[in-house]
């Protein structure tokens, strides 16, 4: 596939390692981890003052590949490609864009699939539980390594939005602005419930073996696939599924009256599940969903107002009208607390039929707001 016009073109994944023993990173759980490697990508140039950087934080199944292509033959660009490039909201003529795979991930950063230096084998479930706070503190090591003195903004959707909130709280003097999108300060019971069903699907796969499988052998593909199919439904909306599939049959004229695939939507979900197992790891899925479930700012700080008390970032909070996984009411809780604290905050619920995944789909309102908001932050 040819590289789309306006794209930043070919990009390269890089690696940064820190926390070599005996200086391991202490995790929020109390566990220690080291050495820690983060896979990351950068687009654009850091200026001499080191203050034109923007950090993009990815969602559950995302990675460091936010934009561009790895090769001429690459089928798809990075997950937020339409946002990054010359003249795009994250303008590479102006900003230095950084995106890293989270700690605990499986796309190049240290996670359950990495080799435990103590045993010479993959960590699997010996990997310590990581939290959103751990992800952010690990990213700070990378940002310091890159000689970045100030982040113009931290921006991300879903779990990426949780990292945005955490950055603004942990490093109030370092983060000029924060754009949490389609996110929450704590997942609701429904969200935890969906994550748990996904985990149960993995546990129930005979190949999971309490996490003790190898990527070269039999992996819990069926379990991970079902987990992804379920999760994928929660990222869409009733309206968008109806629009996309309706009750159309999959390559047949009549119902089969058997248990083969009848409907297009079934075929689509199976495809989503099958393609996911090629790019994601089941144990990693368990760890990352746990990190999302654990995140709870009101619990950690007594109240959300208290959590934001010391933030200095200007906020632009965005939600989507059809997102029922991270509904607007949760964005409003964040906005309310920031307002009570007298912080600089803007908020917009964008009309979109695409559900939670709307932030990954082109939207003129979202693109314009982010570009305009960033330009004012940078000018100030």
């Amino acid at each position: 596939m040819p590289i789309a016009p306006g794209s930043i073109g070919i990009v390269e994944k890089k690696y940064f390692t820190f926390a070599d023993p005996p200086n391991e990173m202490t995790l929020e759980s109390g566990g220690k981890l080291g050495p820690v490697t983060l896979a990351y990508e950068t687009y654009g140039q850091l200026n001499d003052q080191g203050d034109n950087a923007i950090l993009l934080t990815h969602a559950l199944s995302g990675d460091s590949h936010a934009a561009g292509y790895y090769s001429e033959n690459d089928r798809k660009p990075g997950w937020w490609d339409f946002m990054v490039g010359s003249g795009r909201p994250f303008d590479t003529d102006k900003y230095f864009i950084v995106c890293s795979n989270v700690i605990g991930g499986c796309k190049g950063s240290t996670g359950p699939t990495s080799v435990n230096p103590k045993t010479g084998k993959p960590y699997n479930l010996d990997f310590p539980v990581v939290t959103i706070n751990d992800m952010v503190r690990a990213q700070k090591h990378l940002i310091d390594h890159l000689q970045i003195k100030r982040l113009q903004s931290v921006i991300g959707g879903s779990m990426g939005g949780m990292q945005v909130l955490e950055w603004a709280i942990q490093y109030p003097e370092f983060v000029a602005s924060a754009i949490p999108i389609a996110t929450t300060s704590r997942l609701n019971a429904q969200g935890i419930a969906f994550d748990e069903v996904g985990r149960q699907a993995i546990y129930a796969d005979a190949n999971w073996k309490n996490g003790d499988y190898t990527l070269n052998g039999n992996i819990p593909a069926q379990g991970l696939s079902v987990a992804r199919m379920l999760a994928h439904i929660t990222y869409l909306s009733e309206e968008s599924m109806h629009e996309k599939f309706g009750r159309r049959l999959q390559q047949k004229e009549k119902l089969g009256y058997d248990f083969s695939t009848d409907f297009e939507v079934e075929s689509y979900l199976r495809y989503q599940g099958e393609s996911f197992i090629k790019r994601f790891d089941a144990n990693t899925y368990l760890y990352i969903t746990k990190a999302i479930d654990y995140y709870d700012l009101p619990r950690d700080y007594g109240s959300l107002e208290n959590a934001f008390k010391n933030v200095n970032s200007k906020f632009l909070v965005i939600s989507f009208s059809s997102d029922w996984l991270f509904p607007t009411v949760q964005a409003k809780e964040i906005v309310r607390a920031l307002k009570v604290d007298g912080k600089h905050v803007s908020f917009c619920e964008i009309d979109s039929p695409y559900g939670h995944d709307a932030f990954l789909i082109r939207n003129d309102g979202m693109e314009k707001m982010i570009a305009d908001f960033l330009s004012h932050v940078y000018d100030d």
């Binding site: 200007k314 632009l316 409003k332 906005v335 309310r336 307002k339 009570v340 600089h344 905050v345 803007s346 908020f347 917009c348 619920e349 964008i350 009309d351 309102g365 314009k368 707001m369 305009d372 908001f373 004012h376 000018d379 100030d380």
Partner: protein, 207 residues
């Protein structure tokens, strides 16, 4: 910008700006494209934000660097503590909300001072259209048909005065405008008949 507030906008803004102390905090309900707040930030060192429901207006605010919160005034101002702003402004917005009596009291709970500008439905050309033609009035300020107008709670200057009296709201100042002028002699002679727009400065103390 919302279609029902096309006229007078500059003078409106200037007069409201003149009423606001430097370096104070301002909440602008139905802030439109953020022009008033932008002016207040630049000229008076004010801080604060707007509330707006109309997406193109929200985008226009962000473009100007004006903080804005997407919100429906009909849902009230529950998020805001008592007297948390020096001023709460509502410029040509009162006529579109579903429960003006609630939002007026709410703005005076949240703000130490409330500034309301509104279209005077007692303005003589509107009266004459109704009287002589027997039809719902339509003007450049009120361009809609009866069935598609967003202006569902129009009032006269006398109505607002009476409302304030009944609700125990103090009217500190009344500025009556006619044809974009605050100095028109007729506007102050018989405002309910000759003013097409009025700005009231209000206050309500705790019971």
């Amino acid at each position: 910008m919302s279609p029902y507030r096309l006229r007078h906008i500059r003078l409106d803004l200037q007069l409201i700006t003149d009423l606001i102390d430097p370096n104070s905090s301002v909440l602008d309900l139905g802030c439109g494209d953020g022009a008033l707040l932008r002016k207040l930030f630049t000229e008076k060192g004010v801080h604060g934000h707007g509330v707006e429901f109309h997406h193109p207006s929200i985008y226009a605010c962000i473009e100007k660097g004006v903080p804005v919160i997407y919100g429906d005034l009909d849902e009230g101002l529950n998020d805001y503590p008592d007297k948390s702003f020096d001023y709460v402004v509502m410029s040509r917005t009162i006529q579109v909300v579903k429960k003006p009596h609630i939002i007026l009291n709410e703005m005076l709970r949240v703000g130490k001072i409330g500034i309301v500008s509104f279209i005077n439905f007692g303005y003589w050309p509107l009266r004459s259209q109704l009287f002589f033609r027997g039809r719902m009035p339509r003007t450049k300020t009120l361009p809609f048909q009866w069935y598609n107008t967003p202006n569902i709670h129009l009032s006269t200057i006398k109505d607002i005065r009476e409302f304030c009296r009944a609700e125990g709201i103090i009217v500190h100042k009344e500025i009556n405008l006619v044809k974009e002028s605050a100095k028109h002699p007729l506007a102050n002679l018989l405002p309910n008949l000759f003013a097409d727009l009025a700005i009231f400065v209000l206050q309500k103390n705790d019971d």
